[in-house]
């Protein structure tokens, strides 16, 4: 499998995009709908599946079906440079957070990530699904039963919500993580769940019944703000959904008093 080596640059701080430089003949695979701009000479090609299969129609259908399971489109878009010189194409993150560049070759060729974390990759990286086979983890681990697996040795870019935490776990080192905060990890990392410990904290602690635990060795990537949590807060505070609108400008109006008396979200 020939991987394309790509140079890249990440712009922005909280709402980032990544600009990938393609040499003539190189290509990048993007999640449908994340392309931000591309220069002249970059051709866009939509393929069934993830563009890494060389096999027949049937294997393409299977690849596409797997993509459907992870909640992505049936098609991926391949951006290839048909021009003479270097050309650039940019992919933007769909929600506030950080873009994580991962060189798959450095971590052993495989990355397991949360199912909608993938943003783009060098052509040749194959996007697969990795079923979470521990039932308890699938049910309570916060990432569901279906995770995404990136295989290859080129660059892949995944996206994390909020602030990114990248950490290396030593052999046997365990980190307890709130469910939903896991973005990606090396497949040598043991992903399991642990009961929160006390009934009182399980019910009133607000962290849920279980922690996700990640046990080293290996590299892990965590996000500080899963999109669903952000979306939940936005919906809760939306006036249309019964939330409070904190008016700006009026000091003595409902805004200030309401702000003093009302509960802080």
């Amino acid at each position: 499998m020939g991987m394309d080596v790509v140079d890249y640059e990440i712009f922005g701080s909280e709402m980032q995009y990544v600009e990938i430089e393609l040499d003539p003949g190189e290509a990048a695979v993007g999640e449908a709908g994340v392309m931000m701009y591309m220069q002249d000479g970059v051709q866009m090609d939509t393929v069934f599946g993830d563009g890494s299969q060389q096999g027949g129609f049937f294997s393409k259908v299977i690849g596409a079906g797997k993509r459907l399971l992870t909640g992505e489109g049936l098609f991926t878009t391949i951006f290839h440079n048909e021009g003479k010189g270097k050309r650039r194409v940019a992919f933007a993150a769909p929600y506030p957070g950080k873009i994580v560049p991962v060189k798959l070759g450095e971590i052993g060729g495989t990355l397991i990530c949360q199912k909608d974390a993938f943003l783009c990759a060098a052509k040749g990286v194959s996007l697969g699904i990795a079923f979470q086979k521990k039932l308890g983890v699938g049910l309570f681990g916060g990432e569901g039963f279906i995770m995404q697996k990136l295989d290859g040795d080129g660059m892949a870019f995944v996206h994390a919500g909020g602030t990114l935490m990248e950490k290396v776990l030593a052999p046997g080192e365990t980190l307890r993580v709130d469910t939903g905060c896991i973005v990606a990890f090396q497949p040598t990392v043991d992903f399991d769940i642990q009961y929160v410990g006390k009934v009182k904290s399980a019910i009133f602690g607000g962290e849920g019944l279980y922690f996700a635990t990640l046990c080293g060795p290996g590299r892990i990537w965590l996000q500080s703000l899963p999109l669903s949590r952000l979306a939940n807060r936005i919906i809760l505070s939306a006036p249309a959904a019964g939330g409070r609108s904190a008016e700006q400008g009026s000091l003595l109006g409902a805004g200030l008093l309401g702000g003093l008396l009302g509960s802080e979200d």
Binding site: K133, P171, P187, D190, G218
Partner: protein, 365 residues
């Protein structure tokens, strides 16, 4: 002893691990090499680890700290197992068991989920396969009094559509022919003549037998009527209409569950069609055989049954009689009957029925 590749993690190595190869040494330890350096490991612990416990992990502790060596591919695993010293065999097997357990539970979980989602559909399939046995089982539990009440219901419905005579010479003739055929029956038979021109007769549940005037007119002998009655009585005795109803109701109920329709219309529908039940070909054939047996037991010439069926088949070419549309009196059926009748012999008792008088008592068509 062949070396096997894997990924090595340790205190003085990059956090994401490095590629390394390993081979077993002679006293149960491991010799690892990466980037030209050699490392030896003793006091190994072996388990399944990583995502889905899919990888084999060999870990050990030395002065520098804790090390882990992960076997990532199946070939590496096979090579490792092939060369493994006997002292590790148990632990290697345990590790393989751990991985297998995760896999098995996962499959079991999905199978359970699948089963739960498709249970109504599966039940429907099982029902189709075993519907005859199921219907028999249910029908055996319905008391005969209940069946008689169903018969009343069917009778009441028939009365809305046609005039039913309960007495008179025609009914008496029918009773005289039919009564000997019902020997040993748990039903209390009731006989009726309907003033319909069609060549038809039917048996409702609970021993209600209705013969159409048209049938009486076209029958040439009492034996022919006996043949038809034997067939209808067989239906009643074998409780075919109950079975068909139970099947239909069960089917509808299951379909309602499978489709999630609990409006209750299914049962109402089933009760409505009491008299319009068609029997399956198997039920017809069964009724033919049982009817024939009844005729023979009553010493009535079974040739009449065959003759009447032949008559029906002939009529079919002119105007399809109703009896035929629900009774598939195919050539095959007649041929089978004829064959069975030919095998029978005996001195049949002639039926002393005055058919002409019965016919004369019928209302004018």
């Amino acid at each position: 002893m062949s070396a096997f590749a894997g990924r090595l993690f340790g205190p003085d190595l990059p956090g994401a691990g490095v590629e390394a190869t390993a081979r077993w040494d002679n006293d149960g330890g491991l010799v690892l090499s990466h980037a030209g350096r050699e490392l030896s490991a003793a006091d190994l612990s072996i388990d399944a680890a990583g995502f889905n416990a899919a990888r084999l992990r060999l870990s050990w502790q030395d002065e520098a700290g804790k090390h882990s060596f992960f076997l990532e591919t199946e070939e590496a695993r096979a090579d490792c197992l092939a060369g493994a010293p006997a002292q590790h065999a148990v632990r290697l097997a345990t590790a393989a068991g751990m991985r297998g357990r995760v896999e098995r539970r996962f499959r079991l979980g999905w199978a359970a989920l699948f089963l739960l989602l498709f249970l109504p559909v599966l039940a429907l399939g099982a029902f189709f396969l075993a519907q005859d046995d199921l219907a028999d089982w249910v029908v055996r539990r319905i008391p005969y009094e209940q069946e008689a009440r169903l018969g009343d219901l069917a009778l009441a419905q028939s009365r809305l559509q046609m005039q039913l005579a309960e007495s008179g010479p025609a009914v008496e003739a029918i009773r005289a022919i039919g009564e000997p055929l019902t020997a040993g029956s748990p039903h209390r038979y009731r006989w009726f003549v309907a003033d319909q021109p069609d060549l038809n007769a039917f048996a409702a549940p609970g021993g209600v037998v209705v013969v159409y005037a048209g049938l009486l007119r076209s029958a040439d002998s009492a034996e022919e009527i006996a043949g038809v009655l034997a067939h209808e009585i067989a239906h009643a005795e074998l409780r075919h209409s109950l079975k068909t109803m139970v099947k239909g109701m069960g089917l509808r109920a299951l379909v309602a569950v499978a489709l999630g329709d609990f409006s209750g219309t299914a049962l109402a529908e089933a009760a409505k069609n009491l008299t319009e039940l068609g029997f399956s070909r198997d039920a017809e054939r069964e009724a033919d055989r049982d009817g024939l047996r009844r005729l023979v037991a009553a010493r009535i010439d079974p040739g009449g049954m065959v003759r009447f069926f032949e008559k029906l088949a002939r009529e079919q070419s002119m105007a399809p009689p109703v009896l035929l549309s629900t009774h598939p009196a195919t050539e095959e059926r007649i041929a089978e009957l004829r064959r069975e009748v030919a095998a029978l012999s005996g001195d049949w008792l002639p039926l002393a029925i005055d058919l002409a008088a019965a016919r004369a008592a019928l209302p004018a068509p």
